[in-house]
């Protein structure tokens, strides 16, 4: 590889040195549509290897023999061939290319290439598509728009976490999320939720590991190359806009409204005024008391009739977003300056979020061949939210349907809302819960880069760039102290004194990444047939982070949220993380006659987390792009096929899946040490193999792109396969070894699938009406081939909750949901007890389904007519399952609708059998048609073995159809404001997101995209009450161009 690079360079220099008998030709090149000069246009004397390119003002000068023909090529424009005129002076106008094949995309390393050159699957998303739904999170606005990209909002609430995965989960425990790169700066994925979407020019999604050579192995999961807007020469523009967005809870757990408070007995349910459980008598409209008398002797009397109060607990959220951007440029300099302020109140009562961001992008040509560029982005966000939303959600579900829940907001002053007088004996007032448990979170992000680019000769550029991604933040969370009155503790044994001792926790951290980089790029038309684009570079990366936290509990007095205001000793913690890497890479793209491109990369990384022996590793890749339609002109001339491109690639990437300092076992203080100044260490539970290596993913992909009928039909197809070996896993070992886990390289996972895209433009009229409809469909299947060396069967726990968990299981798709189910006979019928009619639960866990969708479909439609644009995006996913762990909230409480499916009466378990004979080894079962459960009330539905402990009862199909986005925008005719000289354009738009969601009947719970675990966890497939209910958003925007 290195040799090849060297010989290529030599070849190039030799070619450049050759001269001929010539004259000087000068001229300028401009673009047809805007008449602006085009810098960097490649000019070549036809039939020779002589060439040059235009300078920053579009001017060129070249030595050419008399009568020669010059070839002008520029990415994104039609190539022109012109004869040298006698004057020796030329003015050349290039037309923009109509085919997307010639669209320029900014890809890895900030390199601009034409789509024709790309040998791997990639999708370019433009600013207009991205911001049509006015999502304030860039990641969410990509959902459904890119083949192969899976976007999951894993939670609700203000600014939820997003998980982005391309081509499935490869690493069992390591990171599977796509790398995010903003203007060549590698940034944490969380930056996506903090980036101003209005700043974005384009997002290039690289589905495969193609960016790994330029960004290092962190790009092994694919990459999102985000390019922000910059000033344009000769264009000054000021945009001011405001967006108001309303949100409301769109999917709440399905609740029953037939039975009120009470727990039993089952035969004759009785009403209990202070009960949380809803297994009481059916509602009858009579007047009942609730709760116990307050200290003042008051008691509430309300009708025993169901209400919608529980659903009305969730607020309507509102977001106001104001944007300002200014951009300008002249022949030497350009800049883009923007600011955004966003304020959001969520659906959870009292939750607030705000975000402010600022960006300055600037460029200056110091000389004709020396350019300086500068990018900077500062974002700050502030959360003021409850840290006990899950508890409050449960409190809501522990409220019977007749309770006037929303009247209990003022718990400080209303004696019935105050914990001392709250009707519910066992669960708190959810408004109190939200109010009493809060957190304030601050995050500041600063990212940016400075770049110098020097062209010592026209064909060679030397680039030096230093980038910074820094984040610092702090948080304070507390649970306030509350003391029950003696009266309340006296009448309610469960309202114990000292129940809310109060606690305070503070944290602060910083994360800084500095990344200097050097890149040499050589671009030349070697001969009439061959072109080369070679990059040689090196980069250093230094990530430094430190986290501090302090906490204490047992508050000395309420309302003073300081960690020193406690009766218990303050605990503190510190964690420092520093990792560094060095990478050297080469990237060569050789073109043949504009229709065949070979692209090869190689990179060697050195990573500080690994031992000296293993820290260096090399990974190569190669891909080919072949444009058949250009190679065989008859295809194009047919008039049917405009473009037919084939591509394919192979790559190998290593992923370092251990943090710093993981190679040596640690000793920690346990058992309460230190005591009185005496230290006591214990050997840690994890043994580590001394020779941890990176996880290696070998992948290949192949596919084709086509455009038919004047680009009215555009499509692509890509098939891929990847194999990831040497996973870094903590293998569970028996504690008899002295350890409980052993970190080593083992296990293999394969992923394969295909990504397809089809876009049709059925209507395109001269009057300006255009309708396009598009679809993208992705199929991904993965399999855990092996887990632990020498073990045919294996299982790795990713996360568990209640009676179910998410696992990696040898031979199965990953992640796999497993949990308990009913005891069944060999025909899969539920075995019930002949005397009680009750089924029983298994102790072992069974596979209950894969949790990542094998099938994903995105649909979009766009209609545009003059200033009017209507766009929608739809999404469909299927083939996967979820487990909901809110059994306490739904079935223990009796709030869930499932507990009324049999009208709370005795019933025969469907598809059940009873044992009628046989031996214990070979029992005989007979279909059960008449043995009913001895109860259909509280004893059945809250009982573990018959219901709540049976995981399969809470597993549902996670399939959905979703109207992800719909928007309509209208550019006001300019005649309306032509009198006002300074207004150049006005756009109004209406947009909605997550407008409609269809899920199967088995989904009684929540949005199937949600996950109870963090976005970084691979334990996908469990949801619960820890996320606020999903929301539906409607908004309108007014945008003015000055």
């Amino acid at each position: 590889m290195k040799k090849l690079l060297l010989s290529l360079f030599v070849l190039v220099f030799v070619a450049a040195a050759a001269t001929a008998q010539t004259r000087t030709v000068t001229g300028t090149v401009t673009g047809q549509s805007d008449g602006l000069s085009l810098p960097g246009v490649s000019i070549q004397v036809k039939g020779t290897s002589d060439g040059t390119s235009t300078d920053n003002n579009g001017r060129f000068s070249i030595q050419a023999p008399a009568g020669a023909t010059l070839v002008f090529t520029y990415i994104g424009f039609e190539t022109r061939e012109l004869a040298v005129p006698a004057s020796g002076s030329m003015t050349v106008v290039l037309a923009e290319s109509a085919q997307s094949l010639d669209d320029v995309v900014i890809t890895a390393g900030g390199v601009s290439i034409q789509q024709r050159q790309q040998g791997n699957q990639a999708t370019n998303v433009t600013a207009e598509t991205l911001t049509q739904g006015k999502s304030f999170n860039v990641a969410q606005s990509l959902s459904g728009k890119v083949a192969g990209l899976q976007v999951n909002a894993v939670g609700g609430g203000v600014n939820p976490e997003i998980r982005l995965v391309l081509r499935g989960n490869r690493s069992l425990l390591g990171n599977n999320q796509a790398l995010v790169v903003v203007d060549n700066v590698i940034v944490p994925t969380s930056v996506l939720g903090n980036l101003n979407p209005e700043d974005i020019e384009s997002v290039n999604v690289l589905n495969g590991a193609g960016a790994a050579s330029l960004y290092g192995s962190d790009a092994s999961n694919g990459a999102l190359i985000i390019t922000t807007k910059r000033g344009k020469e000769g264009v000054s523009r000021i945009t001011v806009s405001n967006t108001s967005t309303f949100e409301n809870a769109s999917f709440l757990p399905k609740l029953q409204k037939r039975f009120g408070s009470g727990t039993g007995p089952d035969a004759v349910p009785t009403y209990t005024p202070y009960e949380n459980q809803q297994y009481g008598p059916a509602f009858d409209g009579s007047m009942v008391t609730i709760g116990k008398p307050t200290e003042n002797g008051n008691i509430q009397t309300i009708p025993y009739s169901p209400t919608d109060e529980r659903d009305q607990f969730w607020d309507n959220g509102y977001t106001n977003q104001t944007d300002l951007s200014i951009s300008s440029g002249d022949e030497k300099s350009s800049y883009y300056l923007s600011a955004q302020y966003l304020e959001n109140t969520g659906t959870v009562p009292g939750d607030k979020y705000n975000r402010f961001s600022m960006r300055l992008n600037a460029d200056r040509n110091i000389t004709d061949n020396f350019t300086v560029s500068f990018n900077s982005n500062y974002t700050q966000n502030r959360y003021d939210r409850s840290n006990a939303m899950e508890v409050a959600f449960n409190d809501v579900l522990q409220s019977p349907a007749h309770i006037p829940l929303t009247r209990y907001k003022d718990w400080r002053n209303d004696e019935f809302a105050n914990p001392n007088g709250y009707y519910n004996e066992y669960y708190d007032n959810p408004y109190f819960t939200l109010d009493n448990n809060r957190e304030l979170v601050r995050n500041d992000y600063l990212t940016g880069s400075t770049q110098f680019k020097w062209f010592p000769i026209e064909k060679l550029s030397l680039l030096f760039r230093v980038s910074l991604a820094a984040r610092n933040g702090s948080s304070k969370s507390w649970s306030n102290r509350f003391d029950f009155s003696e009266y309340t503790s006296g009448i309610s044994s469960s309202k114990e004194q000292g129940e809310y001792p109060g606690s305070v926790a503070d944290g602060s951290f910083f994360e800084t990444q500095i990344n200097p980089e050097f890149q040499a790029q050589f671009k030349d038309q070697l001969s009439e047939d061959f072109s080369i684009d070679a990059i040689l570079g090196g980069s250093l990366r230094d990530n430094n982070a430190k986290y501090l936290n302090a906490s204490s509990f047992g508050m000395a007095q309420p309302d003073l949220f300081n960690i020193s205001n406690t009766t218990q000793r303050t605990q503190g913690g510190e964690s420092i993380e520093r990792v560094r890497q060095i990478g050297i890479y080469g990237d060569v793209r050789i073109g043949f006659r504009n229709y065949l491109y070979l692209h090869m990369t190689g990179r060697n990384d050195w990573r500080s987390q690994l031992s000296v022996e293993n820290r260096s590793f090399f990974y190569p890749s190669a891909d080919v792009s072949f444009i058949l339609s250009d190679a065989v002109p008859t295809i194009k001339e047919s008039g049917v096929i405009d473009v037919l491109k084939f591509r394919g690639g192979v790559s190998k990437v290593g992923l370092v899946n251990i943090g710093p300092y993981a190679l040596l076992a640690t000793f920690g203080q346990t058992n309460g040490f230190p005591y009185n100044g005496v230290i006591g260490y214990s050997i840690g539970d994890r043994a580590v193999a001394p020779n941890i290596n990176p996880e290696i993913t070998n992948s290949m992909e192949g596919g084709f792109d086509f455009e038919l009928l004047q680009s009215r039909v555009v499509g692509s197809f890509t098939a891929y396969k990847s194999t990831t070996t040497d996973q870094t896993l903590p293998v569970q070992v028996t504690s008899s070894t002295g350890y409980t886990s052993f970190l080593t390289n083992t296990g293999e996972v394969t992923n394969n699938g295909f990504e397809t895209m089809l876009r049709l433009t059925p209507i395109r009229t001269d009057a300006g009406l255009e309708v396009t409809v598009g679809a993208n469909y992705t199929y991904n299947d993965n399999k855990v081939v092996s887990l632990f060396e020498g073990q045919e069967e294996g299982e790795l726990t990713l996360g568990t909750w209640g009676a179910a968990g998410v696992y990696a299981v040898t031979g199965e798709a990953f992640p796999m949901l497993k949990g308990t189910r009913y005891q069944r006979d060999d025909q899969d019928r539920i075995i019930v007890n002949p005397s009680t009619g009750f089924p029983t639960v298994t102790t072992e866990y069974y596979q209950l389904g894969r949790t990542e969708p094998p099938h994903r479909l995105g649909l979009d439609g766009i209609l545009s007519y003059k200033g009017l644009r209507f766009a929608t995006t739809w999404e469909y996913r299927s083939g996967h399952s979820m487990f909901n762990q809110s059994t306490t909230g739904l079935d223990f409480s009796g709030a869930g609708i499932k507990s009324t499916f049999f009208n709370r009466e005795r019933f025969v378990i469907p598809n059940s059998v009873v044992r009628t004979g046989g031996t214990d080894e070979a029992p005989v079962y007979t279909e059960n048609t008449n043995i009913t459960t001895y109860t259909g009330g509280v004893d059945f539905w809250t009982n573990g073995p018959s219901n709540t402990g049976v995981a399969e009862n809470y597993v549902y199909s996670a399939a959905y159809w979703r109207l992800r986005e719909a928007s309509i925008s209208y550019d006001l005719p300019s005649r309306l404001f032509e009198d006002m000289g300074y207004v150049k354009g006005v756009r109004v738009s209406l947009q909605g997101r997550n407008l409609l969601l269809w899920t199967p009947k088995t989904n009684l719970y929540t949005d199937p995209e949600y996950s109870a675990f963090a976005a970084t966890s691979n334990a996908i497939g469990i949801s619960g009450l820890n996320d606020a209910p999903p929301a539906r958003y409607f908004g309108f925007t007014l945008s003015v161009n000055l």
Partner: protein, 544 residues
């Protein structure tokens, strides 16, 4: 010129590579220690052993008869049916291995250094005690191949008898090593490093105490083995060479590194059955068993002096028979084993956050001696046995009447309380000639046979170990059958401690042994003994 450039390039490359190395050599852990010393590990391992003692104590309280399910809770499942699975009690195994790994580290780092003989010996003694506890619940265990880290990921099992014999050897050698060290120090002071009081939260560095402790553990092991026919010759030989001059524990073996009313720093027994650091309840799903309360409130024996210091609101403490889940079962007061009112000064088993954690009581030491004397393992005869028995009861009173600061708070002496106790419990059998005499359960002098003597000794041990070492009480029940269940097979709360819902197939309807933990089946499956059952299998010393 070319050469110069060449050299420059190479020079730059070499310089670059070495600075690269420096640039990348930043992987030293700034957050956690990656090396340590035996002096820093030993204190933790001693406290860890105390925590472990309490883990066994609490975990075995359902099986050993000391507690029962409380009212207001459902879904006890295997707690009342005894149908435990391989997922039950797994913490016993993993915590023992975890603590012993630390002790083994201390041994490995010190065993070759005569200067550190006291460190090596203390660690070996505790390791032996902890392994013996594990054998007492699981019988065969990985021992000789255990705790080898990644050198042996699937350690083979050793037979329980062999483990016991090796533990006896370890204890003997430890005693000898301490003796040798003391002799060396007598000659030249300081050749063997002493263990500082702060490093040894058990005996404060007192090596004579450690020797007595080791000798007492050794006696416990040998007595258990002595009943097994196949081990007779071994135990006879061991008893013949038993060094009684070392003595046995005369004081309770209590660990206290400075427990305090802080999260994670409380005495384990108080954290389990007292209060939380914010004065909230610790345990509400269990209440004392009627069976256990029966040994105090007169249902079986009369002993208000001990009952009233152990239980909250005694004699009206909520109690139940294990397995009774009917509506009338009382709810827990949340503090049934804690007599105090959130202030220091309570007595009994859960005294206060700062109390010491018992690992072995002097009472047990005396009852072991009494049994060895009755059975003739140790010489001294019946008079010595009676003295040891009485000392055992007195030691139990003394322990329960200590406050958290180990100050005796009884209004009467332990001796006076023992005498009152013996006077209050008279013979209740059918032999009229013994009417008016004291019960053999409380007075060894009134026992008329060795069987009665052993019954008295083990019954008193069972009472003394209540919520101190519930596991050992349960072990001794399985070994000896005492305290006796109702001979007619009654299943009332004072007839048996077996669960009313027991699915056990044993005659006494209790659990024979617990199953090996699931992770042993999953990760060491080839070595786990097969055919282990809850009700069919026995620990080797259970000979009935």
């Amino acid at each position: 010129m070319k050469k110069i450039i060449y050299f420059l390039l190479i020079g730059t490359f070499v310089a670059g590579m070495s600075s690269c190395k420096k640039f990348l050599d930043i992987n030293e852990n700034p957050n956690s220690a990656t090396s340590t010393t035996p002096e820093l590990v030993l204190p933790q391992a001693i406290v860890g052993s105390a925590t472990l003692a309490n883990t066994f104590n609490i975990n075995m309280a359902d099986l050993g008869g000391q507690q029962a399910n409380a009212g207001g809770f459902g879904g006890f499942g295997s707690v009342v049916t005894y149908e435990y699975t391989t997922a039950s009690f797994t913490g016993l195994w993993s915590s023992t291995m975890n603590v012993n790994m630390d002790l083994k580290y201390v041994v490995d780092q010190t065993i070759e250094e005569p200067r550190l003989a006291f460190y090596a010996s203390t660690a070996r003694i505790l390791k032996a005690l902890n392994f013996a506890r594990l054998v007492d619940q699981y019988n065969d265990i990985p021992y000789s191949e255990a705790l080898q880290g990644t050198d042996n990921l699937t350690p083979a099992y050793d037979e329980a008898e062999d483990v016991y014999m090796d533990l006896v050897k370890e204890l003997t050698e430890s005693i000898e090593a301490i003796q040798a060290g003391q002799a060396a120090n007598a000659e030249t002071a300081g050749v063997v490093s002493s263990v500082s009081a702060a490093t040894d939260p058990l005996f404060g560095g007192n090596m004579d105490q450690w020797k007595r402790f080791a000798n007492t553990i050794k006696l416990r092991l040998l007595i258990k083995m002595a009943g097994v026919d196949a081990l007779q010759s071994y135990t006879t030989e061991q008893f013949a060479s038993f060094d009684t001059s070392v003595g046995f524990l005369t004081e309770d073996a209590l660990v206290n590194p400075g427990y305090s009313k802080e999260a994670g720093k409380q005495a384990p027994i108080f954290a389990s059955r007292g209060r939380t650091v914010t004065d909230a309840n610790t345990q509400t799903s269990r209440i004392p068993s009627k069976w256990m309360i029966g040994f105090y409130d007169g249902s079986i024996l009369d002993d208000d002096a001990r009952g009233s210091v152990i239980y909250h609101n005694y004699p009206n403490t909520p109690s139940n028979q294990l397995g009774d889940e009917s509506a009338g079962v009382p709810q827990s007061s949340g503090r049934d084993w804690y007599r105090g009112t959130n202030v220091e000064g309570a007595l009994g088993v859960a005294k206060w956050h700062t109390q010491s954690q018992p690992i072995m009581l002097a009472a047990e030491s005396y009852f072991l001696q009494a049994e060895a004397l009755v059975r003739g393992y140790l010489s001294g005869g019946s008079t010595a046995a009676v003295t040891a028995f009485d000392s055992g009861i007195e030691a139990s009173y003394r322990y329960l009447y200590l406050d958290a600061n180990e100050v005796y708070q009884g209004e009467e002496s332990p001796e006076a309380m023992r005498e009152e106790y013996q006077a209050a419990n008279l013979y209740e059998g059918e032999d009229e000639s013994r009417e008016g005499q004291t019960s053999h359960l409380v007075d060894l002098g009134s026992a008329i046979s060795d069987a009665e003597r052993i019954e008295g000794i083990i019954t008193q041990k069972y009472i003394a170990l209540n919520f101190v070492n519930n596991d050992e009480a349960y072990n001794e029940f399985r070994r000896t059958g005492y305290p006796k269940f109702d001979e007619e097979g009654g299943t009332g709360p004072y007839d048996t401690f077996a669960s009313a819902k027991s699915r056990s197939t044993r005659a006494d309807r209790i659990v024979g042994r617990i199953l090996y933990p699931n992770f042993e089946y999953a990760q060491n499956g080839a070595n786990v003994p097969s055919d282990i059952t809850l009700f069919g299998s026995r620990i080797f010393w259970e000979i009935n």
